[in-house]
Subunit: 291 residues, 4 copies
């Protein structure tokens, strides 16, 4: 993974468009002509779908176009010509992240310890849960903790309130840190490709409930964890990151859970960092992750 250029005043463009000759030349010429020094460039062509993808980062200090006009200039002079979709980010603007949890604390601790030490450029204005169990963890890190108990009857209503709270708080993206509730289409539509889940299996193996039990019963020799963006279909969204660990017949289900939790927290945290660093493009239910 390339250096996170903190301290540098820079801008990042994530773009994709139908592939054709000359795009890289035109985009880099645009930056060059406006005195933008490129500090990161990675591009990828999906030769099957014939789609061009690029992530480019350049220094703003001597850039001729003021930050607030880049979208207009780039949109008009480049994007329109190539039928390009793009997003502009400024690394110094910290994204605001909401964390949803239930009862297990391992992912929450891993996330909050990174936030606390400034490892990530992110803000966490709130933690939401359907249970009170992790209130003390939130308190340890002085983050407001909101409980929305969910029952069969009140689920829609409670999620409504969660959405309202999340939007009011100016949240940019949501992390489901072993949140044991299924997110409805309504919330997904509010945060498309901006809700990150961790599933405790090597997807597409063992989707749904109790994957460690299924792994034990099937007798696999390796278990995994998968972080993905949430889509309407359960455990089927674009995969951001996966990792695995070796097990054997001697591992009880309890051991699978223990070993799996170490995977879950590390895989989820890697996915969050990639998202914070705006390294991920989503297309066709897959991710392009610029390293």
């Amino acid at each position: 993974m390339a250096e996170n250029n903190s301290g540098v005043n820079s801008a990042i463009l994530l773009m994709h468009c139908p592939d054709q000759q000359g795009i890289v030349a035109k985009v880099t010429e645009f930056l060059d002509n406006n005195n933008g020094n490129i500090i990161y460039l990675d591009q990828y062509v999906d030769h099957q779908e014939k789609i061009f993808f690029m992530r480019i980062e350049w220094e703003l200090d001597n850039f001729l176009i003021p930050a607030e006009k880049i979208t207009d200039f780039f949109g008009t002079q480049i994007a329109a010509r190539y039928n390009m979709r793009f997003h502009l980010y400024f690394p110094h603007q910290k994204p605001r992240m909401a964390i949803f949890v239930s009862r297990m604390s391992h992912c929450l601790y891993d996330i909050m310890s990174r936030v606390q030490t400034g490892e990530w450029d992110v803000e966490v204005p709130l933690i939401i849960s359907n249970h009170h169990d992790l209130e003390n963890v939130a308190k340890q890190f002085s983050v407001p903790f909101h409980v929305f108990p969910v029952t069969g009857e009140n689920k829609a209503e409670q999620e409504e309130k969660e959405i309202e709270l999340v939007k009011r708080t100016g949240i940019d993206f949501i992390v489901l840190a072993r949140y044991m509730q299924i997110i409805t289409a309504k919330m997904i539509n509010e945060y498309p490709n901006r809700i990150i889940n961790i599933h405790h299996s090597f997807l597409p193996a063992f989707p749904g409930a109790k994957p460690y039990h299924s792994a034990y019963t099937r007798g696999v020799k390796i278990i995994g964890a998968t972080s993905h963006y949430v889509t309407a279909e359960l455990d089927s969204g674009p995969i951001i990151e996966q990792d695995v660990t070796r097990i054997s017949h001697t591992d009880s289900i309890r051991n699978l859970v223990r070993k799996g939790q170490d995977l879950e927290k590390i895989v989820l945290s890697r996915a969050i960092l990639l998202h914070i660093q705006r390294r991920i493009l989503v297309y066709n239910n897959k991710t392009i992750v610029f390293a």
Copy 2:
């Protein structure tokens, strides 16, 4: 994995029975009383099913019971008492392995290069295929190559002939080295837990045909290979060994195939070695692999 004690004149017992107190004591006492020096012992208790499993190897040189009577003595004095099932092996008796192939040579080359250099204590009296493509590889290693072309109509009949040939050749176990035909129940019943397959995915993800295409479409970040014993249900037999490798969005299907083939051959060869060394017990469609 413990040392393969070639050169030592030894015997191996693989056993399992309902768990109860004192089994290890009785088995080891039996060997000790008969002057058998234990050079390997590993046991495992499935606490859920309450089954005891053990692999034990001891030197035969000063052992009081002659080799040909061990089954009788052990069966009478120990196994009967514990309702135990057991298998006795002598490492110096090389098992005879048949290899089934179709058109891809990577697994066959990997296997044959190990056989040729004496890395494994095994004999390969024949290679069977439904195509002529790999005849030259068999010729390179001077192994008889038998072609049984399979069509929709003659499949049962051809398999019949294969079984007949395999049995007549005194084959102990069969390796499907990317053999692209489904094995029928008839052959499976002749060689229960003695037909080793390599599937080119991380099972249970992507069973059946074209797993690399499925992996590409799903956008996974890791691919795998799985070696398992063949059972009646496709790609669902007891898993012997698995391994994985990391991929990214930049990997075309062709690259997945290339990277996957390296996994396939290594995973299959590891599984074959474990089988040759009699390290595998099968129970409840799972393997106990004594390392």
Copy 3:
């Protein structure tokens, strides 16, 4: 790794002695005769050194010998005969662990979050540091935090005080969670094979200071972390656990540190768990780790 049988009232014996015929039989017979149901047994013979190692765990509930007399009985009837060294543990007796830190918090957070949630059967009566930086983390988890600032002149004196405090607190073992001071022979002798360190490289590559810088300069494609018991020779003690992660030319030193820290905390925590579960025997500056 075998199930940690919490809830079961059991005892664990770790033993080693010169290898000879019949040891397993005698030890298991001893337990069996005294009505001890074995729930874990693993043994290993170092054929080069001709040393026998075993870890055995059995239920105490119907065991005829009272807990406080096991050492006497086993020592007299078994250990003396085989010139055996052994240690007896009772899993329900939680070991007391001291944590030494300096300025980096990632390992401390990882450890304390496991302690807090009860993942480990351990007590942490104190954290010791040469700096005040992590006092707030200790406060988050309500663990007493003791600062012993170390300079060139006062090092011996301060360590003396640390030893005194640690001993007074009844500490069983010490974890150096990125403690940036070299431990002297005096402390090592007080806690032989009971001081666990994490080194931020794949030892024996890059011992000493600044391993990530060295890894970057050397251009390795994989970095690692190593947890080991501290001995008099720097970074040369018996290795308990190691793990690695892939890097590339695009990774800056800052990225190596970031990726490495995830390794460090997971590897250290795995080593601590193995120690807490009494799965480790040390011999000849190497570990036997019973999984």
Copy 4:
């Protein structure tokens, strides 16, 4: 790794120069203006050394500049301006590879099986050895096998003959497939960054002789293999690829060798493929490997 665009008539440029603003723009504009459709582009800036590196591949079919004039045009119009060093390759020109071996066949089999099946775009006109042992393997694959027995006295002389033979055969690069002789400066200078070695350890751990014995003695929990370009200093050249596998105290040296050999052959073959595909730039004794 990006698709190997066999079948496409393309050219590849590998280049590096002092970093400055606008290079990507100028290079891509050059190709675009001459009607070259880019099918691969990856660039990297070493921010510490301030060096720019790029690999770019484009289709030749409609490219205005004839293949034989590209070096002149690009050199004059682009490279000169940026003080750039570059190499031009045509994927349809298969490089010629010499293989040096001693007595172990696992790497040779792995390489030759890939060559035989056309997995790699490479030619192997000869195999050189200091022993006769692997002559039969060369014969199996119908490759000329040349033996140059090496003694203390004749080493320089024999290497002289090898160089002469290799040059006469028009060899582009050399693979040391567990060739147990140290290569002298003379040969290295003839083939700078074009002699690929496989070392049977995770460098820089355990350089030199008998690394598996050293790994066993040190008690590491992971072993590795390293492929690197040969330089004057033993086992210290630019690392191309590494991989590792987990071991335990139960693994004898013989098992380390066995497990290590699987690593060695796969790691070496990956490195060879990267070299054949011209994905590697060497700078400052490190490799930039464009995936």
